[in-house]
């Protein structure tokens, strides 16, 4: 499908290589056939020494730097490429460890791709060693304000008294009491957020190889109406048993306070690879 470089000079409208990630040569040989059979993406393994680049040939015109800003405004294009990127990495992850690359890492030629794999061999192998046999999982915690208020009324005498006053008062007085109750619950919630996040992260980190506390997402991103109080990423052994046990225990502890935990993944270890891997 590509004109051999020997017979034709490389032109801008020819094919380049989109690099999804880097794996160890021995580990990542198996998924190739399956990826190709999947049909959605023609994925190839470019072997260079002990490493393989998991890559697809792509049109350089489509991925050209000059065309990027326009492409990024196209939601359909963006979604298709993001899903393809993740899909390929997830397939490889079934059998091999992988260092995921950032979206749209595109080389002009196989020579350049190979040069990267060879020149950055040590750093890539170190990154690969760190994630070998492990996957990333995400843990988010959401708080339901109503359930939190109910829990507070059980635990906190002041709040319980305010609730009684709200239920027995009438008219304007009931309104004022209700406002005081709401303010009191909100104040408790302010303290609880940080405390819950600290407790979750400490206990999950103890059950993982590594972990990070990530910025909280707005409801538009989380897709849930409840407020997010914690967003963490953890590097865990591929079987995940110890981690999931710790998570289940935490889930039970926090449920009574109106907090629900959400587990995502397994993901390629996006959060646990070096951000920058340029020339030395």
């Amino acid at each position: 499908m590509i004109t051999p470089a020997a017979t034709a000079p490389l032109r801008r409208n020819e094919l380049g290589w989109y690099l999804y990630g880097v794996a160890a040569a021995g580990e990542a040989s198996a998924p190739l056939a399956r990826l190709a059979a999947g049909g959605a993406q023609e994925v190839e393994l470019v072997a260079e020494g002990p490493l393989v680049g998991v890559a697809s040939r792509v049109s350089l015109q489509e991925f050209d730097e000059a065309a990027l800003p326009e492409r990024l405004r196209d939601a359909t294009w963006l979604e298709e490429k993001i899903r393809a990127h993740e899909q390929v990495l997830e397939r490889v992850l079934e059998d091999a460890s992988i260092v995921p690359c950032r979206f749209c890492t595109v080389y002009r030629s196989e020579v350049e791709l190979r040069r990267f794999l060879s020149e950055r061999r040590e750093a890539l192998q170190a990154a690969l060693d760190r994630v070998r046999g492990k996957v990333e999982v995400g843990v988010k915690a959401f708080i339901d304000r109503d359930r939190f208020a109910v829990a507070q009324a059980k635990q906190n005498d002041d709040i319980r008294q305010l609730e009684t006053q709200v239920s027995t008062a009438e008219g304007g007085r009931a309104y004022l009491k209700r406002r005081r109750l709401e303010q009191r619950v909100a104040a408790e919630l302010d303290g609880f957020r940080g405390e819950a996040a600290d407790r979750l992260h400490t206990r999950l980190l103890a059950a993982a190889e590594d972990g990070l506390s990530l910025p909280l997402q707005a409801p538009e991103l989380s897709g849930r109406e409840e407020e997010m109080v914690f967003n963490g990423a953890y590097l865990v052994t591929a079987d995940r048993a110890a981690f999931e046990e710790a998570l289940a225990l935490l889930g039970r502890d926090f449920r009574d306070d109106g907090v629900d935990l959400e587990l995502t993944g397994p993901w390629p270890a996006y959060n646990f690879v070096p951000e920058e891997l340029g020339p030395e």
Partner: protein
Amino acid sequence: MSMSEQKTLKQQVTLLELVDRVLNKGVVVSGDITLSVADVDLVYVGLRVLLSSVATLEEPRERISTAGAAL
């Protein structure tokens, strides 16, 4: 909300979860490559584009305004 609309929303949510990782994390290769993603705030651009497409599926006005505020 119908089943199909629910499914669409769920797919979009997964997509937004993906954006956070695929566009924001992973090894950035600097040097002689076609795209210099490190110089582009991909997450900002990507979320704007994708959120507005989610917003179109949902209650248009309200969602767009809150999405804008979140960014």
